[in-house]
Subunit: 231 residues, 3 copies
């Protein structure tokens, strides 16, 4: 079930019922647990660990109603060194995972995403396409990172975060823009960020806040709609 | 691992480690990727694509505490033509998926659900039993569609939508009714709809709104609790 | 694919492509469906049913950025009798699931968790480590139970519940404490509970409420921030 063209480094451990398609490249000291699928052309660095029921290198698909068709020609999924990927994850081709990243169970990451060094993607986090995530970022469990988002270094996102990128909710004026989170911004649990809002450097968004406009650097906002704390 | 009783059309591609149980019927030009499970009796149309680690045709299960016991005698899962189903999905028997539907990764759909033509069910969307979803509906990523909901044609539901169907929160007065979304209603990201609320034709619910009572047609509501915008 | 050291009771049914690692103990009348993985040392009681693509007995992993390193020496996962576990679940070692528990599809439960008899863990529910959950608790679909939470008996948690345990959002003062839910408390859909809040015996938190301080016993709170109803 491992294609003959697959290149593996030294000390690679592969579990049972694993499928590895053609032209996959696997570094040294990699552990691939049982029942995983590594799709064509995926590149895996050194000291990577992949848990059960995870598929790496998926291709996007579409239907008639979907307005924004995914690119069909995508480079392979590239995974750096010292990366841990949990169970039951789905990660697409055309994406780049840097060194030291941790991806929890049941996470899914679409195509054209970049994730910087040592960032944590929690369990059940879903990341859409065309999103850029910096270094040392924490995205906690069950958060949703919409398409076209920009998340700078050292951002902290609490669990169950929600974001959106379509101001017109499918009504047809397509200026997609996800929220922009500047360096060191911190977002509380279950907060909602509307399309295109900018959260300034070091700003804080309280748990459950619904952010409808930009937040200045170092400002703290809470409530629905979110307002400056004690402001 | 493919039961002898399985009927397959022409040009069917089946990946590695696939389990197909008895009496499954598969149409023409179907692609079933690695490591999927198709359970007994499931009916799959033409030009269907199914990704890895997805199980089709599951049976509901229960425990002592669960008040509402699922039906044990259910017809097979029926999937129309030109349907795409992502990775790590769980779809139950007794459900009907119409032509052209797209179902994203990590979605789960219970028994006694109908989904109309060309509807999109996003990644990580969970749909409960006894729910009816129209045509050309979009349900975005990580949304939760409770049991006994009615979603008419052309409805748009943003990501992280939450709904409920039990007014008494398990306290024992069982008049279950999920929200009712009329034709073309649009629901923003992370909005919450209480049991039984009716969202009128073309009405808009803002992101993060908590809707406790009915919304008139074409009305826009925002906030917690949701109130008419500028009203 | 079943290790020779595995001990199985009578009337055990095992599906196709199942991996059972060494020193697993399986009781009587157990059904293990296709494509599951049972990891080393896991203990399974009688009359247990496990659905497809579920992994039992996972070990926690970490990266450089993660502040709180998981224990590496954990006892095996222990599953009582009459337990049902859905598809695509991930349950860690060092956890104890009592008799009669139901765990829905796509749920994930970390290490050092205790779950009492007959409790329901809904689909897509994510439970963090070091959490104690009582008897006859209902945790509905897509809810997030943070680390260091205490949930007493007979608590009801509606769908899409969010919680947090880090008051400082990753900023470095580590007094982690998840919310504490006293006996019979009821939490509405998509409510948010801040770190360490105590929800009193029989208290009610409305759907979409953002709870920033303790709620007295039998009190009802709603809104953002949550306030006493009619108070």
């Amino acid at each position: 079930m491992i294609d003959k063209s697959v290149v593996t480094g030294k000390n690679v451990q592969i579990g049972q019922n694993v499928v590895i398609e053609k032209d996959v490249v696997i570094g040294d000291h990699v552990t691939i647990n049982h029942q995983t699928v590594i799709k064509e052309g995926t590149i895996i660095g050194n000291y990577v660990q992949i848990e059960e029921f995870t598929v790496l290198g998926s291709a996007p698909f579409t239907n008639k109603k979907m307005v924004r068709k995914p690119h069909q020609k995508l480079p392979p999924l590239s995974i750096g060194s010292h990366v841990n990927i949990g169970s039951n994850c789905v990660i697409y081709k055309g994406t780049n995972i840097s060194d030291g990243v941790l991806i929890g169970d049941l996470a899914s990451i679409r195509e054209n995403v970049n994730i910087g060094n040592h960032t944590i993607v929690g369990r059940n986090v879903i990341i859409e396409h065309h999103t850029n995530i910096g270094k040392n970022v924490t995205i906690q469990t069950s958060s949703y990172v919409t398409a076209d988002m920009m998340i700078e270094d050292d951002v902290f996102i609490g669990p169950c975060f929600a974001s959106a990128n379509d101001k017109y909710m499918g009504a047809g004026n397509y200026e997609y823009q996800g929220p922009i989170l500047k360096k060191g911004a911190r977002i509380g649990s279950n907060a909602t960020l509307l399309p295109g809002v900018i959260i300034g450097k070091g700003a804080i968004v309280g748990a459950g806040a619904v952010v409808t406009k930009n937040v200045e650097k170092k400002e703290t906002v809470v409530g629905n709609p979110a307002r400056k704390l004690n402001g």
